[in-house]
């Protein structure tokens, strides 16, 4: 991973009528990393991607993609980035191969090159056997892989993926994750993905921005985000109610917080593995018996809920978006 930003976004805003879908987001994506936008439905993830891929005009703010201003050079931006949208966009009446070649045509890639290239991409996503079948016969997973392949047709260095595993079964989701990792590791591609699946963000992304109500509330690596809610939790049970040793425990390096209840100490530590051993040593040196010990790592779920709150989102979905989402889910489940 080099430390050059490939995407620079500053105060990007999009308003629809009275609604601020994206409200002044600022972030950078470094070359070669997988950057994730994690947020609940209606947080502004897709709107941000649409602006960066020049499908939507930003209301205000600046953004550079591949060093090109999205307002001044929309065509050049489109030429250079790959996009895998949330919905299935392939034409059902055409075959998988025809769909990819059509995409290549739209990028102006000559047929002499695009035919072989399309076939290679289909092989990459393991669809070569289905290349000549109509897309209407594809399963949801196959369609998602086809979308991925057509997003790669223009040799992009930067790929946008909007909810790449929406509605997929576990097997296909794992396969899609593997392709994404391969694109990064073997070809040094930069990937920007949005998701509302926490485990997806956790296992794939180098860095995550948690976005809610159009604002970025937190940016960091998955472990930073987890650590930021207070670290690991160690619970130590003691046999007899001896002296309160909370103050001593608190002096152990990396321990951030100690709470005592009847026969238990609840300890928060930045690195639970290291602290827990020291805690046990300390408890024993005070002549107490350890009856039980548990170590819990915080999940991204906890971090996420901490930053976005727990209220369920019932934002109004446009008629059109609702339809598209239904179609996508319907097709994915086939």
């Amino acid at each position: 991973m080099t430390n050059e930003p490939i995407v620079k976004v500053e105060g990007l805003t999009k308003t629809f009528g009275n609604l601020k879908a994206v409200d002044g987001v600022t972030f950078e994506i470094m070359e070669g990393e997988i950057f994730g936008f994690l947020g609940p439905n209606g947080a502004g993830k897709t709107t941000t991607i649409s602006m960066l891929t020049t499908l939507l005009r930003a209301t205000s703010g600046k953004a550079e993609v591949n060093g090109l201003d999205i307002h001044k050079h929309p065509n050049e931006v489109r030429r250079r980035v790959g996009v895998v949208p949330q919905e299935y966009t392939a034409d059902e009446d055409l075959t998988g191969l025809q769909n990819i070649i059509l995409c290549a045509d739209l990028y102006g890639i000559p047929r002499s090159n695009s035919k072989a290239h399309a076939m290679e991409l289909l092989k990459l996503v393991e669809l070569e056997d289905a290349a000549d079948r109509k897309v209407s016969t594809y399963s949801g997973g196959m369609r998602r892989r086809l979308e991925l392949a057509s997003g790669l047709i223009n040799y992009p260095k930067l790929l946008f993926l909007d909810e790449p595993t929406l509605g997929l079964d576990v097997q296909t989701r794992t396969a899609v994750w593997n392709y994404i990792r391969m694109l990064k590791e073997s070809y040094g591609m930069t990937l920007f993905l949005t998701t509302h699946y926490l485990e997806e963000a956790d296992s794939l992304c180098d860095r995550i921005a948690i976005i809610d109500h159009g604002h970025i509330v937190k940016v960091g690596t998955p472990s930073e985000l987890k650590a930021s809610i207070g670290g690991d939790v160690i619970v130590v049970g003691v046999a007899e109610s001896g002296p309160d040793i909370s103050a001593d425990i608190a002096k152990i390096p990396l321990v951030k917080d100690v709470k005592k209840s009847d026969h238990e100490y609840r300890i928060k530590s930045e690195v639970g593995e290291e602290s827990s051993i020291k805690v046990i040593d300390l408890v024993r040196s005070k002549g107490l018996h350890v009856t039980k010990i548990s170590l819990t790592k915080p999940t991204l779920d906890e971090a996420y809920l901490e930053f976005t709150g727990k209220s369920i989102r019932e934002e109004e979905v446009g008629k059109m978006d609702a339809f598209k989402q239904r179609v996508t889910m319907m097709r994915a489940r086939r």
Partner: protein, 317 residues
């Protein structure tokens, strides 16, 4: 021991699969080719996509031909002026009536020319629907995320409709001839000229209906628009009935309807309705042939330019 061997074979296989995948990917990402940035490249790809979908699905073609054929075969044959009056009239007088009213020997031939415009009008009207479907099923988004010109997206929709409508018009013409349309004036020139007229009409109307669909993602609205415009455009024209029997207010409406000019031009070319004998019998053409041609050219040019200009504004939100 055997288990170990089995396990190592599996991992070797897995490794081979991994390596193959990486080799494929390696090749897939070799240096990008030189791009063809001409707008025609993308325009042709998009037009061709719709046409391939169309000719791979002949049911659609057959259904679209049913209506004009029903009109021709049933209405055209049933609306028998000659039958109404033939009892009392000598054939020469009957011919004079036909020539004076329809500019040709029979109502059937008159309607045949009108049906060519009919199929063009109805095909063009549905060109907007394919924009709506592309929007609903995501393809429009895909196309918009590529560098292909927004104008090319719109023009491709217009072109595919033009090609389809002209092919359908050719089929309707053949059917009309088989059913008894007068071919006395047919020649390469008159048929070619007629199809130029129809081309212009189709281009203008398709641009109009595509334009009306640019912002819409709702097929019910689109259907309503089609119904709202189709029948008035058809009945307030000379496609089905002679203008001179219409009330005067309707006659002036007919004069503003581009469909009338296409039908008038086609009748003058294919049926010779602009001939001096027809004029002598009392038939009035809507306008001289060159006026028909100019009106249609202007109509097609204005609407197609308008469509492209609007596409820049309306396609992206």
């Amino acid at each position: 021991m055997t288990e170990d061997i089995a396990r190592s074979t599996v991992t070797a296989q897995e490794q081979a699969v991994e390596e193959r995948k990486e080799r494929d990917a390696e090749r897939a990402f070799r240096a990008a080719p030189k791009l063809d940035k001409s707008p025609i490249h993308g325009l042709w790809a998009l037009t061709n996509r719709d046409l391939v979908k169309w000719y791979k699905n002949p049911v659609q073609l057959i259904i679209s031909l049913v209506q004009p054929v029903v009109w021709l075969g049933l209405f055209g044959k049933a609306f028998n002026i000659s039958g109404l009056v033939s009892g009392n009239l000598p054939p020469a007088a009957l011919n004079a009536i036909n020539l004076g009213t329809f500019g040709t020997t029979s109502y059937f031939s008159y309607l045949g020319a009108g049906m060519l415009a009919f199929i063009i009008l109805f095909t063009a009207a549905f060109s907007g629907m394919s924009v709506v479907w592309d929007r609903r099923f995501g393809f429009m988004n895909k196309a918009m995320s590529t560098p292909v010109g927004r104008g090319a997206i719109v023009t491709a929709k217009v072109l595919q409709s033009v090609v389809r409508s002209l092919i359908q018009a050719a089929i309707v013409l053949v059917i009309a001839v088989v059913l008894g349309m007068d071919t006395a004036n047919f020649s390469l020139m008159t048929i070619g000229g007629s199809f130029v007229m129809l081309f212009l009409m189709s281009f203008g109307l398709s641009s109009l209906f595509v334009m009306l669909a640019l912002r819409s993602s709702d097929w019910q609205t689109q259907m309503a628009i089609i119904n709202l415009l189709n029948l008035p455009l058809l009945f307030a024209s000379n496609a089905m009935l002679p203008v001179k029997t219409m009330p005067s207010w309707l006659q002036s409406v007919v004069g503003y309807n581009p469909v009338s000019y296409a039908v008038d031009g086609v009748r003058q070319l294919l049926l010779g309705s602009g001939s001096s004998s027809a004029a002598a019998a009392g038939y009035q053409v809507l306008a001289p042939l060159w006026v028909d041609f100019s009106v249609l050219t202007g109509f097609a040019a204005v609407l197609s330019v308008l469509g492209i200009v609007l596409s820049w504004r309306l396609l992206s939100k």
